[in-house]
Symmetry: C2
Subunit: 512 residues, 2 copies
């Protein structure tokens, strides 16, 4: 099946032991921060916000001090010299340590602070600008953020041997390169208008979906979510499900994986999808290699792999006819006390969950139009970092991109370039991982079905263990042992590209 | 009213600024630890326990490294030399910093670690020994803990100019001295047998209390607790109420004060009392001086003052005829749907809440016998630290003490010297603050009633603002400005002693 070498518990000595202890310490602080962030979103009384951000900042500074300690450079040089590649896990762990150390020491402390302040100020301005639909209000602080991000990318890029934009990508997806992203995105982009047309045409010919009930008691929705989480293998002795304004997966390490969802009247399907999306992330975290707990090589590979796990569950597993056949009666029992049973026929549920429309808003977009939203953002943020697009021209460039990629133009900036928090909050180089993750999900799903001939039958019985076990073997327990390219290749036999996603979209939306 | 100088926001320079920044940083880490501890007791999935204790230990080590930094010694010397006493808050802040620094640097790191390990091992042995009722099983590890605690007390005592036992007291109650505790405890101890006799005799003559309903839905109990918390001024925008196995007050600083309670079928009164006890602690934390947030002088004075606030609410306020007259209808509404209304007559509620019996167990003890439990523990732990009592002789000494102080002897060690976790978990010098806190509560309550002539009328209307405002002025907003002795004297005009508690017990239990 896999070429992944077995992970054995590390027993390093000398410099390697110093490094292991130091990085474990850093990771424990990061887990403390994650726990506190979870608390902020789910439990914190509102009056605690100011003190909370100080607590968080203090822990971040401590972690930063620990990773920029010059002794790490000496330890790394020593350990790298002694490493003879006998244990590929140990070698990979050193590689990940080196990457993090280079990155952390490359960016001057005053730039870290300036970037953090610029992002805070811009994010605040953005909230007002979006509310008032006035892009001009956020432009000055956006320029400041862009300047900080460009300088950050340049500094990290010098240390890592990358372009500024690739160095920004690197913090979320270590092995990504813009030119490579161009290649896979450009395969997909020209097909999207046609796919969207075909999907809309198919929808017009098919019966309109019967909607899920608008209002279902939260407790019933939660129980349905928990039941399906258990079926997928989520371990509640090492995790939780809670409620927050925006769903996320966080917690305090692989034995404390906490996902959140939200229950909105009038959109029961959205809570259902969000819970299972986050479950995909959570299964990855709970499945990370035990022997390398606390070490960089024991963490998730990157945001592409992470998003692949959530999308594989949300888009491929949950919407598969086999799984829907199993889930439909459970959904009916939980959600449909007074509802027409036809709503809970698997075919109808499938139509509800795969409805397509030309949405202006990325987070509301269906899977056919979603890629165009990401491609647009990738092209624009890269152009801004490279100096080819002035932020003042962003609204116009946005409209042009929407027209050519999706065939619709937003009436204003609030539903245009102001819709996502990322750029204003200092998150540059993140967007592409959303689509790379979808491509990886499609490629993994295709490979798993080929390698597990009984999978559909099992899913029909509600048994996801075969699929999840396959993901455990090929993705979860591999941690950061190899590059994402190698991870995908080892699991699927092929380099990551758009073909599986294209085939999936054509099959699901343009086959008939 | 008070001789407390106004607290103004600090704007220190030079070494004082370095100190302020350093101690603020330490306090933020301590708040992170408190938040994580809250999470451990209320939210944590069981499988996360091992990783959790590592996260906690890492943060504790970081805080310890920050406070033992030798530069603090230089900064302190510089700041103390420049301090001309112009701002008593600044002077007090330096004094508190000095005390913490002396304490932290006095105890060698290997002793800190040895004590922590000994306590962990002993606590585990204690759980088994208590379950199996075999003191001998815990004796070896208890000797180890005692040895570590004695050495800790000696080391800290050398630095602080205190005896070993006083140096242990000092970590919980900075100004306490064993000889002074002897003085106030010895005033009370001889009266306890007679008070207990009188209380039991009074009970025999009075009608037996009608019990509260055994089972009340948790949600109704919680709502009653929240309603009364609001009446006492608990600010839910800066705090929470949750459920844990053992009630406590924690959180992440004065804007994030979290109390917990527990709801046990068959003991509705206990949840009621526990919630309000913790509310007393919480009001103190929420009321700490705003201008000195983050600094040592801005924290609670010590465990005596803290316990005084919880006991003032639990014992004096809640059981007062005036407050019970107000609370009775609320309690009936929340707890008494199908219950004889006579249960919720204020007189009956008073009898339920003030029932006396010769309990063997401290945490179940009524307020008449409780002091004897503490006096016994104080005398025994001091004798062990001083080398006057060998741990092997603890069970015998315990029986002798129980006989003379309470007039009853435990049938075994599980209900005797094994009942409390403190000694086995490494908490030495803590016990006396429970009783000192009760004395302080009685003295404060007496002074408040004298100074607030309308208090009873207000309480009868459910208005606790006058009393709480008085506590805010005299205790909460004073933080650690002065010693606990001076704090009590400034608020009540008298040094802390047993007289108010004696008068209270005589009035409540031996008057008729």
């Amino acid at each position: 099946m896999s070429a992944v070498p077995a992970a054995e518990s590390p027993a390093p000595t000398g410099a390697a032991a110093d490094l292991a202890e130091r990085f474990a310490r850093i990771q424990r602080i990061e887990h403390a921060v994650e726990l506190i962030d979870w608390d902020t979103e789910t439990m914190m009384p509102e009056g605690a916000a100011a003190g909370r951000s100080e607590i968080r900042a203090t822990l971040s500074v401590l972690a930063h001090e620990l990773i920029t300690d010059p002794r790490i450079g000496d330890w790394l040089a020593d350990a790298e010299e002694r490493d003879e590649g006998g244990d590929p896990w140990q070698t990979a762990n050193l590689r990940e340590m080196r990457r993090r150390y280079l990155r952390a020491t490359a960016i001057p402390a005053d730039l870290v602070e300036a970037a953090s302040k610029a992002a805070s100020a811009c994010e605040m301005a953005w909230r007002g600008a979006r509310r008032d639909n006035r892009f001009a209000d956020v432009l000055p602080t956006l320029r400041e953020v862009l300047s900080c991000e460009r300088r950050t990318g340049e500094a990290a890029g010098d240390a890592l041997g990358l372009s500024a934009y690739d160095a920004l990508l690197n913090q979320f997806e270590p092995d990504a390169r813009a030119t490579e992203i161009d290649r896979v995105f450009d395969d997909l982009a020209p097909l999207l208008p046609g796919l969207t047309e075909a999907a809309l045409e198919g929808q017009r010919r098919a019966p309109a979906p019967l909607p899920l009930p608008a209002v279902v008691p939260v407790e019933r929705q939660r129980q349905l979510g928990e039941t399906l989480m258990r079926h997928l293998g989520f371990d509640f002795t090492r995790g939780r499900l809670d409620v927050s304004l925006h769903p996320f997966c966080g917690g305090g390490g692989p034995d404390d994986v906490r996902i959140t969802t939200r229950f909105v009247d009038g959109d029961v399907a959205s809570a259902f999808s969000a819970t299972l999306h986050e479950t995909g992330h959570a299964l990855y975290e709970q499945g990370l290699p035990l022997a390398w707990r606390g070490q960089p090589v024991g963490t998730a590979r990157g945001m592409t792999a992470h998003e692949s796990q959530s999308m594989l569950v949300e888009i491929h597993l949950i919407r598969s006819p086999a799984f829907l056949a199993f889930a439909a009666p459970l959904m009916r029992q939980a959600l449909g006390a007074d509802t027409d049973p036809a709503v809970f026929e698997p075919d109808n549920l499938f139509r509800v969950l795969t409805r397509v429309e030309r949405s202006l808003i990325r987070v509301d977009a269906d899977e056919v139009t979603y890629p165009a939203h990401v491609i647009l953002r990738f092209r624009l943020e890269r152009a801004m970092i490279d100096g080819d697009l002035d932020p003042a021209d962003l609204p116009g460039a946005w409209a042009d991109g929407m027209q050519s990629l999706i065939g619709t133009v937003p009436p204003d900036d609030a539903t245009g370039c102001l819709q996502d928090i990322h750029w204003f909050g200092g998150l540059w180089g993140y967007f592409p991982t959303y689509l790379l993750g979808r491509m990886m999900a499609a490629q993994l799903w295709t490979a798993a079905r080929e390698q597990l001939p009984d999978m559909d039958d099992a899913l029909r019985r509600g048994e996801a263990g075969g699929l999840i076990g396959w993901l455990r073997t090929h993705i979860h327990t591999v941690g950061s042992l190899m590059s994402n390219d190698d991870l995908v290749r080892a699991a699927t036999g092929r380099r990551l590209d758009a073909s599986a996603l294209i085939a999936h979209l054509q099959h699901r939306y343009a086959a008939s």
